[in-house]
Amino acid sequence: MNAVLDDLDAYLQAFGYTLALFVISGLLSLVLGTVLVAMRVGPVAVLRAAATTYVTTVRNTPLVIVFAFFAFFAPIINIRFTWLDVHIGRFDFTELFGAAVASLSLYTCTFVCEALRAGVNAVPLGQAEAARAIGLPFGGVMTNVVLPQAFRAALPPLASVQIALIKNTSVAAVFGVAEAVAQMRTFTNSFASQRLGIFIAFAIGYIVLVEVVSFAAARAERRWRIA
């Protein structure tokens, strides 16, 4: 573990990337997942079918293949993230980071959609009917009445989805983002004898992130509990 303690900077920087991947992909996945669920329960048949197809396809594809798509195939059909060139302090957010965020959020949003759909189904039908009865159009019914209640009902599965996302950010290592697992490999390559300590140090990093998310979810659940 001394290897890590001696180069705490590299360790923290790596988790900085992990955190950045998680926060950005997490927020995007929530937004996209909400749009998907609105399409899936909405009145337009074409959108319903499109969302259903997307969710079933992507959700059943291993994440590595989604990453491979953005790494190898997307550039061929001219989807590139070369426009991304942001530098904040010691952090560089460039093409690889963009591709990783796209892969993670487009993958995770399908799980967000399914968690939210269960939440929507948990909202009594009368809630939506009462909302329609006061003259709200579909969008208004969803944003004002159904989704806020669906989010509350879906909070535990949504937290699980976001926790899975934290761990999935490690796949970005394969594609050259210098996040935690990539840095862990650098450490173990240079200090093979300290492998166990290095693993433990990085496991602790993930546990801390996961615990923060669990704690936030538990607090939100308590605060939002319907009286």
């Binding site: 909302a131 329609r132 004002n144 009286a227």
Partner: protein
């Protein structure tokens, strides 16, 4: 406590407001509405009564198009009900609906329940909507509960909030689908009192209920439904004392016996 709208009269003006013309509806093979012809005039209070499964709820829900109809037409204030989209939403804003199970928005406070429609649909500003909502809540006797959530209120209080929520949209007509049948007996009268005041204030109302007391005090007309059709229409007194059809006699016999 009075819910009288300014300038409204308690007598029906004779001008048709809700008109159902040869309305038919099926749920699959089940013919739930059979050739319904019904005109409700402005200011009129119509009580709809009939055995379970006779199509009363479906009739109510068809009037604000929570259910579509298969044949015939329904019009409100001379305009046929729009098919969908913005116009349909606008129509629903003109028709107040009170459900058997209240259906207050569980995640919103009592005040927010009442202001949601005025703010989001009528685009009123928040302060004005809240002032009006508080006045309405005071009138239905739950003004001091404004900051609470629906689950913290009794059934009778929730139903009165639901009435206030519908009234906040200034509807042309109010539909009530068995508004008191989910309530404990001691709470029924507090809701009926509010409804009687509304009726006296000149509100046009279509009320599905088996509360004969309400029908006798507030209704101009009783419509008796059986098997999806209107089997009999009469004044409350005539209907309850002198039912003409066998179905109505049979039905009244059953509900009067206990």
């Amino acid at each position: 406590m009075t819910l009288a709208a300014e300038g409204a009269t308690s007598a029906a003006t004779g001008e048709p407001l809700v008109v159902l013309d040869h309305v038919d509806k099926w749920f699959g093979d089940l013919h739930v509405l059979r050739d319904i012809n019904l005109t409700v005039n402005r200011g009129e209070v119509v009580v709809v009564i009939g055995p379970s499964g006779s199509g009363k709820s479906t009739l109510c829900r068809a009037i604000n198009r929570l259910e579509t109809i298969d044949k015939g037409s329904i019009s409100l204030d001379g305009e046929p009900l729009p098919q969908e989209g913005k116009e349909l939403a606008n129509l629903r804003a003109e028709v107040g609906m009170v459900f058997q199970s209240f259906n207050l928005f569980a995640h919103k406070t009592i005040l927010e329940n009442v202001t949601l429609g005025p703010i989001k649909v009528r685009k009123q500003d928040k302060a004005q909507a809240e002032t009006e909502a508080r006045a309405l809540l005071d009138r239905v006797g739950v003004g001091h509960q404004a900051a609470k959530y629906p689950a913290q209120l009794s059934g009778g209080q929730q139903q009165r909030v639901a009435i206030a929520r519908a009234l906040a949209m200034h509807p042309k007509v109010m539909l009530f689908d068995e508004p008191t049948s989910a309530l404990d007996p001691e709470m029924i009268s507090e809701v009926l009192d509010v409804m009687v005041d509304l009726a006296k204030g000149g509100m046009t109302m279509i009320v599905v209920t088996h509360e004969m007391g309400f029908a006798r005090t507030a209704a101009d007309r009783v419509v008796f439904m059986a098997d999806g059709a209107v089997a009999e229409e009469n004044t409350p007194d005539e209907f309850f004392t002198n039912p003409r059809s066998d179905r109505a006699k049979d039905f009244l016999g059953k509900i009067l016996r206990h």
